[in-house]
Amino acid sequence: MTLALYVPTGSPVHRAPAGAKLLTLVAVSVVVFAVPTLPVVGGVLAAVVLVGLGVARLPPALLGRQVRAVLWWLVALAIVTGVVGGVAGAALVVLRLLALVLAAAVVTATTRVTELVAVVEWLCSPLRVFGVRPARIGLLIAMTLRFIPLVAERAERIREAQAARGGTVRGIRAWTTTAVPLLVQVLQMAHTTAEALDARGADDDAPPARPPSRGRR
């Protein structure tokens, strides 16, 4: 898996704290919706492009790719809003979309995954309500990245095994005949993974105040 969304250039934008960049991103999105005038939205877009290309020294092709990714939406939205609200309305919507998407792209390209994960851990503290300890976020992410190739590999193996027995059904049946054995296999694998983690003390930092009646099996 390519993790090429981060582009290191060592600029001041890269060195800025991740939390500050995310906060700026939130501010940008609030401004472009709260003050829907062409000068303001256009100004924000210009500032984003200036910061991205000038200060952060990101390759223009990277920003170009982001624009291409939403090109269809741009065209569709421009047509619909053009019919309803005229050229000015269409321009506003298009500029707003570009400003938001590019601002987010600049933050992603200038901030390391680990820094963002740290912010996520901090943001997740309220999830204690759901029984999630923020310190476990790193473990969750590691497990997910580990499971992705395993799930893909086992899906392929099941497909091969069925092809070997002459199974070339298509459509909905093909999906269910692959998905059911796959899910049973990977659920068992996840269970074993959890056992293996527990065997290595994964639940050792559990809150000590756990009532004994909720003992784990």
């Binding site: 473990l139 590691a142 497990m143 990245l145 580990r146 190739p149 395993l150 694998m189 074993t192 993974t193 056992e195 293996a196 983690l197 527990d198 065997a199 290595r200 003390g201 994964a202 050792d204 930092d205 003992g215 784990r216 099996r217």
Partner: protein
């Protein structure tokens, strides 16, 4: 001691005391031997009776038991979760609260011992099957458990890697319980238990126990 999952009894009326340094466990699929292994470090708590390790009850002192008893699984893919080899080995130490400097030292030491030193920063999922099983073993041994349970450690390995793992098991200083279908692995063991449909049917020296197991299986259609 006994254990059931719901209405299904997987182990019944078992009383056994393991004091030997090398204990093997064999039995057909579904005989209850994997459950037996899991009972030894508190991954499974018996529904009847108690399991104690060095006089610690696995039900009440689960954490202390798990620190004392390392557990190596059949499928290394299921127990490796961290992106790189070194990070995965360090996982157990992090849980134990070992300081980063000592952690790095112990990880390096165990990787060298298992010939994985050159792979410390490699993605764990790109290792070969044999290397993965070594990594799984390293991840447990780095925690320096007093005893080790291995659940079919050679089942998924080729002959060469199975022999390597067998040699490593033979070299372990810890007392070891190995669940296996790989009968030659049990050569030189002190004691072998044979399970069948949830019951302990033989408990003897390796030669005698394996002979009993073979004749038991030969009598089946």
């Amino acid at each position: 001691m006994g254990h059931s999952y719901g209405a299904r009894t997987v182990l019944a009326d078992l009383t056994v005391r393991l004091t030997e340094r090398r204990v093997g466990v064999v039995g057909a699929n579904g005989s209850g031997k994997s459950t037996f292994a899991r009972l030894l470090n508190g991954l499974v708590v018996p529904t009847e009776g108690t399991v104690t390790v060095d006089s610690l009850d696995t039900r009440t002192a689960t954490r202390a038991v798990r620190r004392r008893v390392g557990f190596v699984f059949q499928d290394p893919d299921a127990q490796i979760v961290h992106p790189t080899v070194a990070e995965d080995v360090a996982f157990g130490l992090e849980n134990m609260g070992v300081a980063p400097a000592e952690r790095a030292e112990r990880v390096a030491e165990v990787l060298t011992r298992y010939g994985l030193a050159g792979h410390a920063d490699h993605p764990a999922h790109l290792l070969s099957g044999g290397q993965k099983q070594l990594l799984a073993l390293a991840g447990v041994l780095v925690m320096r458990p007093a005893r080790i349970v291995l659940d079919e450690p050679t089942t998924l390995l080729d002959l060469l890697n199975a022999r390597r793992v067998a040699l490593l098991v033979a070299e372990l200083e810890q007392s070891v319980v190995v669940v296996t279908h790989d009968l030659p692995l049990l050569e030189g063991f002190d004691r072998v238990l044979v399970f069948d449909t949830g019951r302990l049917v033989a408990d003897d020296s390796p030669a005698a126990a394996i002979a009993a197991y073979r004749s038991l299986m030969a009598g089946r259609p």
